[in-house]
Assembly symmetry: C2
Homo-oligomer: 319 residues x 2
């Protein structure tokens, strides 16, 4: 396998990232492209980008797609997605026929976790849980060095672990109440930031509100990083809630680490220290010592992980 | 492996169950013995029983021990236990030297799950989650047909998944609040049963209380099975809470089934129907269709699973 290379594609809500993973160079000619407005457009743009990458690198042996959707991994189908025009699309077969290479598809959270395990924060940690905290909270599981997908590939929905059974309704297509996504996502950060701004007019957040500016997750993060105590308190609340879910996940998996990525991790330890406190105080011994680490690959995690997933699938097939 | 047999031991708080698992007969001469009062006594009694089983069955190739304790599986150590006099005991090495057979140790919840997967409610369901609802709530995970243990063997503490972050303190050595164990175990069933009895003097439970009789989990179960509406309502509460945890576990694992065993399952669907309702209403599609099944092996699950675990370890070593 040493000479082989794989293409990785991270399909986001508005753009896709394409790169080539090779044993020696890791990432070759990373590109960015629109995902289009319709399913047909998405497929055309995807095929065009993958074809270009294939033509540029003759040693490419397979393609991996990381998609923010419910995936049937074995059948290569994107079952349903909130932010992409995809429904029951046999994307593996379609792309494979068009580009003449084996294609493998997986959930974006799963492949991001694989990337952090192989090249990022969790290197050498074969049991790891990843939480991607953005608008929602995505998840990925690496167990014994392999992606865990559930019985047909829809598992690892770690944002939809309940932390408060009588909590607020969750987001998007989730019918649950009190999920960690509803209480500790970037959306919740903005909501709690606005509530804090309203109750503390003298704070940096209160002044933003008085000036008619938007108090969202980004604004709360900037204020907290600049030392505003009210904003730091909002992160204490949000990070603590994240930590309640981390304590449950630590008790379930006894992982070598829990890795936190996504946009909200821009706040770093302002988010993670309260989470670590809850894990220390709530998890059983020895799970209360589970390291809670910051992801290191940022926006490249999905693309790197998609390519690495394809590489491991090729190795499995030829084993 | 067809001619080989393994000994399984389920080490309970006051007694142990010993049996031999063979491909054709499954259980041979099942026995019961005391576990003694001290660590030394426990080891002596265990060695005596295993030696007898070994002498009776010449094809025995290994011994499996299922122990209600934190286990280091790879090193064969019982790290800590709440209800047994065991602490940092290298029980695999000790028993192996004394009986002259390979010995493998595992958590009792893990091996019970393996038994239900191989011989019980979850046959043919390679991704399964097991909850054992008794005084506490134990857990076991079978992922892709194998026991999942965590990084050193302390994982699958599924009773310590939070369902209400600001809930009551948990039991035993758990520092957490609002674990499903604190809200939906047999202990919680008795507590909620007493509360219901106090507020409904005319109910069957209220009359028990007035007569000075104990209102515990068993009494609530009997009253509910006899049709007392107040007792049925207590099961609706407890089963619903169990279902909140099941919804989280379904979202995490997308298992083929969740199997519920332990003493409280005597109430059958009175416990499981409210749990199924919560999973249907709370879990994401398709995890909201996860079957919630009653365990079928009862008290034999630990012993059968311990023997099956030893058999699979022998196969792994010789592979």
């Amino acid at each position: 396998m040493s000479g082989s290379e794989t293409i990785g594609v991270d399909l986001g809500g508005t753009k896709m990232l394409i790169g080539v993973l090779s044993g020696t160079e890791r990432l070759y000619e990373q590109r960015e492209a629109s995902t289009g407005q319709t399913e047909d457009e998405l497929v055309e743009l995807l095929v065009r980008e993958v074809t270009e990458a294939r033509d540029a690198r003759p040693n490419v042996t397979a393609v991996g797609l990381g998609i923010p959707a419910t995936i049937n991994h074995d059948e290569g189908i994107a079952v349903s997605a909130v932010n992409l025009p995809l429904a029951d699309l046999p994307i593996r077969e379609i792309v494979s026929e068009r580009v003449g290479l084996p294609v493998f598809v997986d959930n974006d959270g799963n492949v991001a976790a694989l990337a952090e395990y192989l090249y990022g924060a969790a290197q050498g940690k074969p049991h790891m849980v990843m939480l991607t905290v953005g608008t929602g909270i995505g998840g990925g599981l690496i167990l014994d060095g392999e992606i865990y997908r559930g019985s047909t590939g829809a598992g690892a929905e770690l944002g939809h672990v309940v932390i408060q059974a009588d909590g607020p309704p969750c987001q998007g297509n989730c019918p649950n109440h009190g999920c960690v996504e509803s209480l500790a996502s970037g959306t919740a950060l903005g909501r709690e930031g606005r509530a804090a701004a309203e109750s503390a007019a003298d704070s940096a957040l209160g002044k933003l509100l008085a000036d008619g500016k938007e108090v969202d997750g980004k604004a709360v993060t900037e204020a907290a990083l600049a030392g505003d105590e009210i904003a730091v308190g909002v992160f204490d609340l949000i990070g603590g809630r994240l930590g309640v879910a981390c304590a449950s996940l630590a008790n379930i998996f006894q992982p070598n680490a829990i890795v936190v990525g996504g946009g909200v991790i821009a706040a770093g330890d302002l988010l993670l220290e309260p989470a670590r406190r809850e894990v220390r105080e709530r998890a059983l011994n020895p799970m209360n010592q589970t390291p809670i680490l910051e992801a290191t690959l940022g926006n490249d995690a999905g693309m790197i992980g998609a390519a690495a997933m394809a590489r491991s699938e090729v190795a499995r097939v030829s084993a």
